[in-house]
C-alpha cells in the first residue's frame, strides 16, 4: 500500500507534511508543512521531496558549522539586566512561576506565615496544593545541593505557609462590581484555567469556567490520591478563586467549541491531557474487566465509584501515575502489589521522592521488565501477565532496550496501566481555524499561548502534553496577559517586564538587615504517618508536614541567594580582603581573557558552565574582579570585609509580571 500519510486535509486545506527528526526539533520545530491546495498525490510527492531536500541541506549546514573558539575577551557584566541576578537565585529561576523562594523562606523564619503564603499565592496560586504535590523543579536547582549536600526542602516549607497561615480572605482581591464588559470562557476547571480566572477577575473580566465533572480541580482532584493531597486543601484553594467572582459551571462538557467562541470575547482551553494510554498486547481484546487505565481508575476512586480492587495487582509504568496507582491499590485492599517498569530503575520517570515513598510502603518495583501478554483462566477471567526481561545496550552511542529472551509470568487479579497520557480534543471542530500539528497537538505560540485562532488560547497539559501543576500555573499567567492584551487591542508581543528592586542591606557598621548565620545541618525529612495507620485509609495523609520547630530549623538552611553581592569598580582598592574572607573561593582578581581561559585560571576553576561569571570593568592594576556565581553562599562577608564599600549586599526582589500585579500596581498608583 502506498504511503499517503503525509498528505492530509485540515481546515478544508490539503497539506503536505514532513516530520522533523527528534534531534533537530529545537532548530526546525516539530514538522514542516506546505499546502498544495488539492488532493493530488503526485504533486504532494514532489512537494514533499522538495521539503525533504531543503531540510537535508540545512542539516548539512549545521553539521559543517563548527563554532570557532571565541576570541573575544570578557565584557563587564551588565547587572542592570534583570535576568542576571534572577539567574543567581537558582530556585526562583528554575520555578516556572518564578516564585520568590528565599523571600518566603525568610518570612517563615520570621514566623510571618500569612505573608509567606500570600507571596506564594501571588505567583503560584496554589501554595497549599503545590506544597504537597509540586514537581519541585526548584529543589534540584537549589544552590545548597552544590555547596553542601541536599537542597533545602523548599516544597515542604511552602506547605508550612499553608498550614500555619491565618485567615487570608481579607487579602484576596475581588472582582469589581463594575465589570469591563469582556466575557471569557475557560474550559476545564484545572490549575491552568483557575490561574487565568484569578489573574483576570480583579480586572473586571467576567469569567465562566466549564467543567465536565461534578467537582472542580481537574487532574489535581481526579489523579492525585487524597493520601497525598487532601480534598479540603484542594477545595479551599480552588474556591478561593471561584469566590473571587468566577462563574463555575459543573457537569458542563463542551461538545462543540464554535458556539463558545462565538459567544465569548476570548476562550481559554485548559482541559489537560485526559486520555490514558492503552496497552495493545496479546490478550487485551479478550476482556477489559480487570484491566484499568490508570488515570481513569484514579478518577473513579476520587469520585468514589471504585472502592475495592483484587488482592494481587500489577501496575505497569514507571511514572508518578504508576506510583499513585500502586499506593492507592494497597489502600483499597490489595495485599500483593507490584510495579513493573520497562526501563532500568535509574531511568524511571517518577520523582525520586515518590519512588522512595512507594518503596517505603513495601511495594516492589521490577525494572527491565517489558509486558508481553495478558493471561486469562478457563473462565475468561484475567489471571496474570507474561513479561520478558530486558537489558539496556548501547547501539551507536545510543542507549536501547533489548530483550534478554528470559520470560516471566506474574499472577494477578487486576492490571493498572500507567504508561502515559495523551491529549484529546474530539470536541474541537476541525474547520474553525484551530490548527493541529504533530501528534494531533494544537499549534500554540510558546510565548503568548495563542492558538492559530486569535480568540483561542491554550495552557497546561492541553498545550504541549503532560507536564505538572506549576507549569500549568505559569501557562495560565501568560495566557491571562495575552487575553488581557487581546481584549484591550494591545499586541500580544507586548509583555509586561518583570518587576525588580535591588536594595542595599547595609544598616550601619557591621550591621546588615539579613541573617547570614545559615544552618550547616543536613536536610530535615518530613515526618510521616505510621504505615499501619496510613495504609488503612485512602484519605489519611501520609506526610504530616513540618511542625513549627522543624520548619524554623529547615528555613535556617536557606542560603539567601537573593542577597546579591554587587561590586562597584571605582571604589575597589584591590586589597584582596574579599578574596581572603570568601569561604568558597568565588572571588578572584585576574587579567581579562576569553571566557574559557578566565574560567580556568580562577582560584578554583569555574567548571559549571550553567553558572555565570560576574566580571567587573578594568581596575587600577589592569585586572578584573571575577566572581564565580556557582558556589557563592551569600554570606556577605566580602561586603563586611571590604574597606571601601566596593562590595555591597543588595536584596534582589524579582517578580514576574502578571495581570494581577498590574492591577495591584494600578491600585497603588490611584
Amino acid at each position: 500500500m502506498e504511503d499517503k500519510k503525509y498528505l492530509y486535509k485540515r481546515n478544508n486545506i490539503w497539506w503536505v507534511k514532513v516530520a522533523v527528526p527528534k534531534s533537530q526539533r529545537d532548530k526546525f520545530g516539530y514538522d514542516l508543512r506546505q499546502t498544495t491546495g488539492k488532493s493530488d498525490l503526485n504533486e504532494a510527492r514532489s512537494v514533499r521531496d522538495h521539503i525533504v531536500e531543503s531540510l537535508k541541506s540545512k542539516f548539512n549546514e549545521t553539521e559543517k558549522y563548527v563554532p570557532l573558539p571565541s576570541t573575544k575577551f570578557m565584557e563587564k557584566t551588565n547587572i542592570d539586566n534583570p535576568q542576571y541576578f534572577h539567574k543567581v537565585v537558582d530556585c526562583q529561576y528554575a520555578c516556572p512561576a518564578h516564585t520568590n523562594v528565599p523571600e518566603y523562606i525568610r518570612l517563615i523564619a520570621q514566623k510571618k506565615y500569612t505573608d509567606a503564603y500570600m507571596l506564594n499565592w501571588e505567583s503560584n496560586v496554589f501554595p497549599g496544593i503545590l506544597g504537597r504535590v509540586c514537581d519541585r523543579p526548584c529543589e534540584p536547582a537549589c544552590r545548597r545541593g552544590r555547596t553542601h549536600e541536599k537542597s533545602v526542602a523548599i516544597c515542604r516549607l511552602k506547605r508550612v505557609t499553608y498550614d500555619y497561615k491565618d485567615d487570608v480572605e481579607k487579602y484576596i482581591p475581588q472582582s469589581p462590581k463594575v465589570k469591563n464588559g469582556k466575557r471569557i470562557a475557560l474550559i476545564g476547571a484545572g490549575p491552568a484555567s483557575l490561574t487565568v480566572a484569578r489573574d483576570l477577575l480583579p480586572l473586571g473580566y467576567e469569567c465562566t469556567i466549564f467543567e465536565k465533572d461534578h467537582k472542580a480541580g481537574g487532574l489535581m482532584r481526579t489523579n492525585i490520591p487524597s493520601f497525598r493531597l487532601p480534598a479540603d486543601v484542594l477545595d479551599e484553594e480552588i474556591y478561593r478563586i471561584i469566590n473571587m467572582g468566577a462563574e463555575l459551571k459543573l457537569n458542563s462538557y463542551i461538545e462543540k467549541l464554535k458556539p463558545v467562541i462565538d459567544e465569548y470575547d476570548s476562550v481559554f482551553i485548559g482541559t489537560g491531557a485526559p486520555k490514558g494510554k492503552d496497552l495493545k498486547l496479546k490478550g487485551r481484546e479478550i476482556s477489559s474487566e480487570n484491566i484499568h487505565i490508570g488515570i481513569d481508575w484514579l478518577t473513579s476512586i476520587a469520585f468514589e465509584h471504585v472502592k475495592k480492587i483484587g488482592k494481587k495487582v500489577i501496575v505497569i509504568g514507571g511514572g508518578n501515575t504508576a506510583m499513585d496507582c500502586c499506593r492507592s491499590a494497597l489502600r483499597l485492599g490489595a495485599n500483593d502489589v507490584k510495579v513493573i517498569v520497562r526501563s532500568p530503575f535509574s531511568q524511571m520517570k517518577a520523582s525520586e521522592w515518590e519512588i522512595e515513598e512507594t518503596m517505603e510502603e513495601g511495594i516492589p518495583i521490577l525494572d527491565n521488565t517489558s509486558p508481553k501478554e495478558f493471561l486469562f483462566d478457563d473462565k475468561g477471567k484475567l489471571c496474570g501477565m507474561k513479561f520478558e526481561k530486558m537489558e539496556q545496550v548501547e547501539v551507536d552511542g545510543r542507549k536501547k532496550m533489548q530483550s534478554t529472551g528470559e520470560e516471566i509470568t506474574i499472577e494477578c487479579d487486576d492490571v493498572l496501566l500507567a504508561i502515559g497520557q495523551e491529549n484529546a480534543f474530539p470536541w474541537i471542530e476541525k474547520d474553525i481555524g484551530i490548527e493541529f500539528g504533530e501528534w494531533e497537538m494544537p499549534v500554540v505560540d510558546k510565548l503568548t499561548m495563542q492558538s492559530t485562532h486569535p480568540k483561542v488560547f491554550f495552557g497546561g497539559d492541553s498545550a504541549w502534553g503532560p507536564e505538572n501543576i506549576i507549569w500549568a500555573v505559569s501557562h495560565g499567567h501568560q495566557a491571562a496577559i495575552s487575553i488581557d492584551n487581546f481584549c484591550s487591542g494591545v499586541s500580544l508581543k507586548e509583555r509586561p517586564a518583570p518587576i525588580t528592586n535591588l536594595v542595599s542591606q547595609k544598616m550601619g557598621i557591621h550591621e546588615w538587615s539579613y541573617d547570614n548565620d545559615v544552618s550547616q545541618e543536613k536536610r530535615i525529612s518530613v515526618p510521616h504517618e505510621e504505615l499501619s495507620k496510613s495504609l488503612k485509609n485512602l484519605k489519611t495523609e501520609v506526610e504530616l508536614g513540618f511542625d513549627e520547630e522543624l520548619a524554623l530549623e529547615e528555613a535556617q538552611r536557606c542560603l539567601n541567594c537573593d542577597m546579591q553581592t554587587v561590586f562597584e569598580d571605582d571604589l575597589c582598592i584591590e586589597c584582596d580582603a574579599c578574596v581572603d574572607i570568601c569561604p568558597t573561593d568565588c572571588i578572584n582578581f585576574v587579567d581579562n581573557d576569553v571566557e574559557e581561559k578566565v574560567r580556568d585560571k580562577l582560584r578554583v576553576p569555574a567548571l559549571n558552565l550553567d553558572q555565570s561569571l560576574y566580571v567587573s570593568g578594568k581596575l587600577k592594576t589592569g585586572r578584573r574582579m571575577v566572581k564565580d556565581e556557582d558556589m557563592c553562599v551569600h554570606c556577605g562577608l566580602c561586603a563586611e570585609r571590604c574597606p571601601t564599600g566596593a562590595w555591597d549586599i543588595k536584596r534582589n526582589a524579582y517578580k514576574e509580571s502578571h495581570t494581577l500585579t498590574n492591577k495591584i500596581k494600578a491600585k497603588e498608583v490611584a
Binding site: T147, C575, A577, D585, V604, G636, E640, R641, C642
Partner: protein, 350 residues
C-alpha cells in the same frame, strides 16, 4: 548578621599531600580593620603552609604587641602560639628555638614592635642566627594607637592629619643584611604572586629569614601623602626579578630568557629560581645587594623581591651544638647518664 565564616568550602577546592585544603590552615576570622594588609599576609602564610604540606602542629607562632602581633590568631589555628611582651618576641623565639629544634618558628612583628621598642631584640636575634621566619608587617604607622609615625615612616611622608614626619626611617632589610641575616626579602601585601614564593623560600631556609612586608594601614596610612599606601607602593614598586619556589623533586616550570635565571638550592633540597633583571644585582653578594637597594632608594623606588640569600651559614643551634632532640623529649637516662659516665668525663679532664 554573623561574622562567622561558614565552615563549608568549595567542593572542588584543591587538597595537598596531607589531604588538607587551604581552609584547614585558617584561624579565627580577623578583627583587624577591613582591608588591612596584615590580613593579606595571613592569607599568604596560609597559602604557603598549604603548598608546603606543613603540619600545623609543627609550627610555633610568636608575636609581640601591635596590630601585626594580633595576626597569628588569624592563621594556623592548630599551631602553637606565644604572644609576648611588646618587642620581646625575638627573645622568646630564641629560647623556644633552642628548646625544640623540631618546630618551625614564625615570628610575626610590626614596625613598632621591631624597629622601635624591640630593636635591640631584633638585632640580636639576627646576630645569633636564630632559625626562624621573621615577618615585619610594615605599615609605617602606629595603627593601634591611632596613627602616630613609626620608625619606618619615610621622611617625606605626612600622617593622616597632615603633619610632617621629622625623622629618617630605619630600613630593617638593609640593617638585617648588614647584621648577617641569611635570607632577606622585601615585598608588598598586595602582591601575592611575589609574596608567596618568598614566604615559602623563607620557611625552607635554615637560619634567620627576614621578610619586610609593606602592609598598608587602610585606616591611618592609606592616604595620598603616605608612602606606604596601596597606590604609592603600586606606583613605586620595583621588583628585583621574579622569584619562584620549586618544591623538592619538581622541575622549574617557568621559563626565563637564557642566562637570566639563577637557581639557589635550599637546605631541604627545594630550590629558588631567581630571574635576574639587572647585572649590578646579585642576591648572593651582600655588598652588591646593599648598593643596589640604595641606588633604587635614590630613584624613589621601593625595591622588592629576594634581596639577599646565603644558604651556607650556621644557625644558632649548630653554633651552640644544641641537641637535636627537643628538651621535652629528653629522657632521664640521657639527662643524667649515671656515675660511670661522670667518672669518664672527670678522668678525661685530669
Amino acid at each position: 548578621m554573623s561574622f562567622k565564616k561558614p565552615i563549608n568550602h568549595h567542593p572542588k577546592l584543591e587538597t595537598n599531600k596531607l589531604g588538607l585544603t587551604r581552609r584547614d590552615y585558617e584561624g579565627a576570622v580577623s578583627t583587624l580593620c577591613a582591608g588591612c594588609g596584615h590580613d593579606s599576609i595571613s592569607a599568604a602564610i596560609i597559602e604557603s603552609c598549604f603548598k608546603l604540606n606543613i603540619e600545623a602542629y609543627k609550627v610555633a607562632k610568636l608575636s609581640g604587641i601591635g596590630c601585626s602581633s594580633k595576626a597569628p590568631a588569624y592563621f594556623l589555628e592548630q599551631s602553637h602560639g606565644f604572644n609576648s611582651v611588646h618587642g620581646r618576641m625575638p627573645s622568646v623565639a630564641t629560647g623556644a628555638n633552642c628548646a625544640n629544634r623540631d618546630l618551625m618558628y614564625l615570628g610575626v612583628s610590626g614596625d613598632g614592635d621591631s624597629a622601635s621598642i624591640g630593636l635591640g631584640q631584633f638585632v640580636h636575634a639576627i646576630r645569633r642566627q636564630v632559625d626562624m621566619v621573621y615577618f615585619v608587617e610594615n605599615n609605617g604607622t602606629y595603627g593601634l594607637t591611632k596613627g602616630q609615625f613609626s620608625a619606618t615612616n619615610d621622611l617625606e611622608s605626612k600622617n593622616k592629619y597632615g603633619e610632617d614626619n621629622l625623622f629618617k626611617p630605619i630600613d630593617l632589610a638593609t640593617m638585617a643584611i648588614q647584621l648577617g641575616a641569611t635570607y632577606v626579602a622585601r615585598s608588598f601585601s598586595g602582591d601575592r604572586d611575589q609574596l608567596i614564593p618568598l614566604i615559602m623560600g623563607a620557611m625552607q631556609h635554615k637560619g634567620f629569614a627576614l621578610l619586610d612586608i609593606i602592609s598598608p594601614c587602610v585606616t591611618f596610612n592609606n592616604h595620598d601623602s603616605s608612602t606606604k599606601s596601596y597606590d604609592y607602593i603600586r606606583d613605586h614598586n620595583e621588583a628585583v626579578g621574579k622569584t619562584d619556589f620549586v618544591p623538592l623533586g619538581e622541575e622549574i616550570s617557568t621559563s626565563y630568557k637564557e642566562g637570566s635565571s639563577t637557581e639557589i638550592s635550599l637546605h631541604d633540597g627545594s630550590k629558588l629560581a631567581l630571574e635576574k633583571t639587572d647585572a649590578n644585582f646579585d642576591p648572593r653578594d651582600a655588598g652588591k645587594a646593599l648598593n643596589f637597594i640604595r641606588e633604587k632608594e635614590k630613584e624613589g623606588k621601593v625595591l622588592t623581591g629576594l634581596l639577599y640569600i646565603n644558604d651556607l651559614a650556621k644557625d644558632l643551634n649548630e653554633t651552640l651544638n644544641v641537641t637535636q632532640t627537643p628538651l621535652s623529649q629528653l629522657q632521664q637516662d640521657v639527662l643524667c647518664p649515671g656515675s660511670e659516665i661522670l667518672d669518664e668525663i672527670n678522668q678525661s679532664l685530669s
